[in-house]
Structure formats: structure tokens, C-alpha cells
Amino acid sequence: MSTNEDIQKNEALEPPVNKDPSSSRLIITLALAGLVAGILISGVNLYTQPMIRANKAMALRKAIFQVLPGCTDYQPLILDNGKLKEIEPSEGVSNPDIPQTIFAGYDETEALVGLALVAQEPGFQDIVSGIFGYDPIAKIIVGFEVLESKETPGLGDKIIKDPGFRENFTALATEPEITGVKQGQKQKANEVEMITGATISSKTVVRLLNKGLGETKHAMEAFAKEKSTK
């Protein structure tokens, strides 16, 4: 009725400073806030998770074609006892818990163009997840894309956007181990020119490539040999 009074009352309402509420009340308040927050987040998560998963799968699919030039079709692989085995499509699709990290890319004539590998490495802010294309016969990296990163906008995120940095990965030798050098100092085929102001993020990419290769390099080469002899 008397809204003016309400306004005055509300304005006069200061947090109760004199009365100390019991600790249990404080705990209950925070617990309730946490509970409601949890319910809300898990509810929305249930709704959005399938969509986010589908978006990620689509981004991954797009990235595979980008890191393997000439690739028109791909097949997910799994590392089993040091050997790469093809996963049946149904196996991979029906079971999202099997992490799909290695893919064999084929061209129109069904010849192997290379392998795409997903790898993760802790960056400056959070885990950087990237995918790179590897040509096991020439033993070079033919492409690299960042799938997920929370690197500093404007600095670290140049690993995604900087065209100069991306050029490092068009034909990067992998033997001996890939190393990072300062900008303008690249001399060997296995060197990556790092970004000024984003050294940590650039080094993360170098580590990511070495780690990804270290685990599966031999298996990938064996797989390529097997394919070429068939």
C-alpha cells in the first residue's frame, strides 16, 4: 500500500551489525547457497553437455582436415600395446569414454596422407589442447591447430591467431627433437620461432608436439609402413 514507506524502510535497512548471528546460521546460509548453485549448474550442464560435446566433435573434425592437407576422410585409431589399431566406427561413437586422439587421414584414392594426433600440455593459464598432422614417411609435422586454450588474450592466444607462428608448422622436421628459438633465429628445419611476449605459450606448443610424438611416433611410422605395403 504505502510504497514510500517501503522505500524508506528498504533504504534504512542496513546489514545487522550489532547482532552476531550464530556460526551455524552462517554455515547453513553458505551451504544453502552452494546447494542451490550446484543444482542450477548441474541442471544446465545436463542440458548443454550433449550440445557442447557435438560442437567439440565438429571442431575436431574440422581441425583434422585442416592439419592434414589433402585429407578427405579419416579413421580413428587406438594405441594398443604399442601398435595402432583402427577403431570400428560404432565402437568410437557409442562409447564416448574412449578418448579419440589419433586419426589416420586418407585422400580420395584412399592412400594415407598422414596421421592427426591430439595432445595436451599445461600452458600459462590452463591445459592447452592441440591437434597436429604428422607425415610418418617424411617424418615432418604438416599442420597444427589449437583445440582448446585459455591463454592470455592478446599475448598467449597468439599461438592460435598469429599467422607467422602457424607457418612454423607447415613442414616442421621432428628429428632431432623440436626446439623453440627466438624470433628471426630459425636456422634448422626442426626449430620453431617463438612469439615475443608469449614465450611460455610457445614453449607449451613445442612441448605438446614433442610429448605427442614421443608417445606414438614409432607406432605411427609402423602403421604407415604397414599401410604402404598393403
Partner: protein, 236 residues
């Protein structure tokens, strides 16, 4: 009762307009500069960031204001942060599901809405002390002001720095984009320019207002001096 209803409506409108112009979070209070400078390089990014902030601010203010009497003051900031962080997480998930492109562009800045001082500031200064309807008006006003400011910056930077608006090319092929405008210095330049413009408009309006006031008080003075009788002077 009618009078109180009108004054109520009047106050709601006032709370809304205040945030939009007189107390604009960016141009007047200069708050939340981190997203303002960092993600305002294109119109679409700034609009997405502004609308995400609006979503978080409106719902947090409503919730804080509704439960303001139940939240003990000792744990109020923690509770506000829990509420704000919840809505930020929701925005993050919804954007990732529906607009993955924008989500990738805004990156870490969505999570950083949690620590945007505009939002926590409104909870502490307004929502925790006022009824939900005023808190809603205030949150809508402040966030509309924030969206407006970000959108102005984003549009200027995209048009000059990229020659496009919402990715649509505006100028012919002969246009050489001012790349600096989409880089960090461009953010500072545009913000400085807009602050200058905004303060200039405000100064002019204030000057006009004070002139009006002076004229009115002069008129009043004249009346009162005329009205003062000789008797008063004797009394003095």
C-alpha cells in the same frame, strides 16, 4: 495511493536511467575496464560480452535482493560471489552450447565476469539494500549502460580497424584498415576519445542546468527582496 504508485514508477524509471547515463559504469564510474578494453575489438564480441554481463547482473541482483534479509552480513560477500559465479558458469555453458564461435573468441573473459567490479559493486551498493523491483531496474539500467559503452567501443574499433561492421565490409577495397584500432592501444585510444566526448556532453548539460538554476534563483531573490517590507528590515 495513486500518488505513491506514480512515485514508485518514477523511482523505478529513475533507477533504470541512472545506470544508463548519469552513473554509466564505463563512462562515468570507469569500472570493469578489463573486459571493456580487452574484448571490445569487434562489435559482435562486445555485444556478446555486454549481454553476458547483463544476464549475470540482472539475475544476481534479483536473487541477492530477494534474499537480502536472510543473508547475514558476515557472509554476504561470499554469498554474492557464489551467486554471481553460478550465473557466470551458466552463461559459459550456454554460450559454449549455442554459440561456440563466440565462446572461443571471448575465451577466458567469460569466466572473468565473476570478478567484474560492476557486478559485485551493484550487489553491495544497491541490491542488498533494496526491494527486487528496484534492484531489477537498477541492474537493467547499469547493464544497459555497460552494453551501450562496450558496443560503442566495439563498433568504432571494428569499423576503423577492420573496415567492417558485424563482419560486413563497409568500405571498398581501397580502404586501408587502421590495424592499431583492433590492437590493445586502439582500445585505449577509443576509450579515451569516448570519455572525452561523454564528459564534454555532460559538462555542457551541467552548465546549462546550473544556468537555469541561477536564473531561477535570481528571479526568486528578486521576488523575495521585493516582498521584504520595511517592517522586516526594522525587525532585523
Amino acid at each position: 495511493m495513486q500518488a505513491s504508485q506514480t512515485s514508485d514508477r518514477h523511482r523505478i524509471a529513475e533507477e533504470f536511467l541512472k545506470g544508463l547515463w548519469n552513473d554509466n559504469p564505463v563512462f562515468v564510474m570507469v569500472l570493469g575496464m578489463c573486459p571493456v578494453l580487452a574484448v571490445s575489438n569487434t562489435a559482435i564480441n562486445s555485444l556478446a560480452m555486454g549481454l553476458s554481463t547483463m544476464f549475470v547482473l540482472v539475475f544476481s541482483s534479483l536473487l541477492v535482493s530477494t534474499f537480502r534479509k536472510l543473508i547475514p552480513s558476515q557472509v554476504r560477500i561470499t554469498t554474492f560471489i557464489i551467486i554471481i559465479a553460478t550465473f557466470v558458469t551458466l552463461v559459459d555453458m550456454l554460450l559454449a552450447a549455442h554459440f561456440p564461435f563466440i565462446h572461443k573468441e571471448l575465451g577466458a573473459f567469460i569466466s572473468l565476469i565473476v570478478v567484474n567490479c560492476v557486478i559485485l559493486g551493484r550487489q553491495e551498493a544497491f541490491s542488498s539494500k533494496n526491494a527486487p523491483k528496484y534492484a531489477l531496474a537498477d541492474a537493467l539500467g547499469v547493464s544497459a549502460g555497460f552494453v551501450f559503452a562496450l558496443f560503442c567501443l566495439g563498433s568504432i574499433r571494428e569499423i576503423l580497424g577492420n573496415g567492417t561492421f558485424f563482419n560486413l565490409p563497409l568500405f571498398g577495397a581501397n580502404f586501408e584498415p587502421w590495424v592499431i584500432m583492433i590492437l590493445p592501444p586502439g582500445g585505449f585510444f577509443s576509450l579515451g576519445f569516448l570519455l572525452l566526448l561523454f564528459n564534454r556532453i555532460k559538462q555542457k548539460r551541467d552548465a546549462a542546468k546550473s544556468q537555469l538554476k541561477a536564473a531561477a534563483s535570481w528571479k526568486q531573490n528578486r521576488y523575495t527582496t521585493e516582498y521584504v517590507t520595511e517592517k522586516d528590515e526594522v525587525d532585523l
